[in-house]
């Protein structure tokens, strides 16, 4: 355990050096939480991002349509007055629930908008980490069939 941690630390400093010398880009150095993206439901994802339970919060504003004209592009915006350090967007009924997560360093506003794919009508969750605790807001988005269907 200790050893492993030391290795991780050593790796982190090596990566930092590579970024500063331009060998790799900052995006290459950034972490990608594989376990979280493999999660099949809210609990799986919450566990993988270091949470246990999330408390429902009215302070999280989700901007998303009630009906999406096409599941390929569903706009989802999350904004909160909580002191957020991380925002996570999940689509409950997708094959893997986690769609995207955002890290907000000091100075970033607790605001993000992106677009996600939805295979079918589903609950969409916004998780917000603030002061070490997880909060959640949920909205149901209906996905309709459009066009001539051919």
């Amino acid at each position: 355990m200790n050893n492993q941690r030391r290795n991780v630390l050593r790796l982190t400093s090596v990566i930092a050096l590579m970024v500063s010398t331009g060998l790799i880009s900052s995006a290459q150095a950034a972490e990608w939480n594989k376990a979280a993206f493999e999660g099949k439901n809210l609990d799986d994802v919450l566990k993988a991002i270091g949470g246990t339970k999330a408390e429902a919060s009215a302070d999280i504003i989700m901007r998303a349509p009630d009906i999406a004209e096409n599941g390929a592009v569903v706009p989802v915006g999350v904004e909160t007055k909580l002191k957020a350090s991380q925002i996570v967007i999940l689509v409950e009924k997708n094959p893997s629930s986690l769609a995207a997560q955002f890290m907000l360093p000091e100075g970033a506003e607790a605001f993000v908008t992106t677009r996600v794919k939805m295979g079918q009508s589903s609950n969409v969750h916004a998780l917000v980490k603030a002061d070490g605790k997880w909060y959640i807001a949920t909205k149901e988005i209906k996905v309709t069939l459009g066009g001539c269907g051919g």
């Binding site: 998303a64 349509p65 009906i67 004209e69 706009p75 309709t144």
Partner: protein, 267 residues
């Protein structure tokens, strides 16, 4: 026959009230959805690529398209899309933006038109045409559609386009008019512009080309028409053919004076 109709119509009227209220709320939500995705139209990515292609040396003649005459003089891009389709003396033909770009690529760069005509959407040389279209139409955004069709050849093409618009065929008896000749109509939840009116044509013609979120691609007017014909169960319209240009100038002329809103963002 009258008696057969009666119960049918009566029942339809009965259900109409609740149905329209119901669909109204769904339509409002769809409008909200469209508004949300309008900010950040991925067609900007095509436009960037198109601008580069316009200014890049290409083809056997290693030339750029910067001397291409889209109707307002060599190299003029601002406002060019708003006055197309139009008659061109050098080709003695009414041309839309895409057929005109093919002419320029042939004469200036030496790229064979047949390569583009026989190609496929989103591939090869035609993909380049599509990106250039995104670039050119962006430079007419918010301008007035200016297709009065005063030249005799333009007038003739408008008449031919109108005939095509109403021409039924195929195993479903569809014409463009089947879906686009009265207002307030929808297929599923998609509003269908009435292309027989100025306002409807201005809206329909004026918001294509567009980025289609359902396919994740930028669709030019040629591609829009191609898929209309596919859904009409017609045979395959040849890229840049007079059929497609006639329909385009019919719509553009009908929508004359309306506003160019391209590139649009569509389902």
């Amino acid at each position: 026959m009258q008696t057969k109709y009666a119960p049918f119509i009566f029942a339809s009227l009965l259900s109409l009230g609740s149905a329209s209220v119901f669909s109204q709320s769904a339509t409002d939500e769809i409008a909200k959805y469209r508004e949300m995705i309008a900010d950040g139209n991925p067609s900007e990515l095509y436009e960037m690529a198109g601008e580069e292609l316009w200014k890049q040396q290409a083809g056997p003649k290693k030339a750029t398209l910067e001397k291409c005459d889209l109707g307002l003089g060599p190299g003029v891009v601002d406002g060019a899309a708003a006055q197309l389709p139009r008659y061109f003396k050098d080709t003695d033909r009414v041309q839309d933006l895409e057929s005109r770009l093919m002419t320029c690529m042939q004469t200036l760069q030496g790229i064979e038109q047949t390569e583009i005509i026989n190609g496929a959407f989103g591939k090869g040389a035609r993909k380049n045409v599509e990106a250039i279209v995104a670039y050119v139409v962006t430079h007419s955004k918010d301008m007035k559609i200016n297709v009065p069709a005063t030249h005799p050849k333009e007038k003739e093409m408008v008449a031919l386009g109108q005939k095509m618009f109403f021409y039924q065929g195929g195993p479903m008896d569809f014409s463009c008019a089947s879906c686009h000749s009265s207002s307030g109509q929808r297929i599923r939840l998609q509003d269908l512009p009435d292309l027989t009116t100025q306002a409807g044509s201005a809206l329909g013609w004026g918001s294509w080309p567009a980025y289609r979120v359902s396919s994740g691609e930028f669709w030019t007017m040629q591609r829009r028409l191609n898929d209309c014909f596919r859904q009409q169960r017609m045979p395959f319209p040849i890229y840049g053919s007079d059929v497609t240009i006639a329909l385009s100038i019919f719509m553009a002329n009908k929508g004359d004076g309306g506003t160019v809103q391209t590139p649009g963002l569509k389902r």
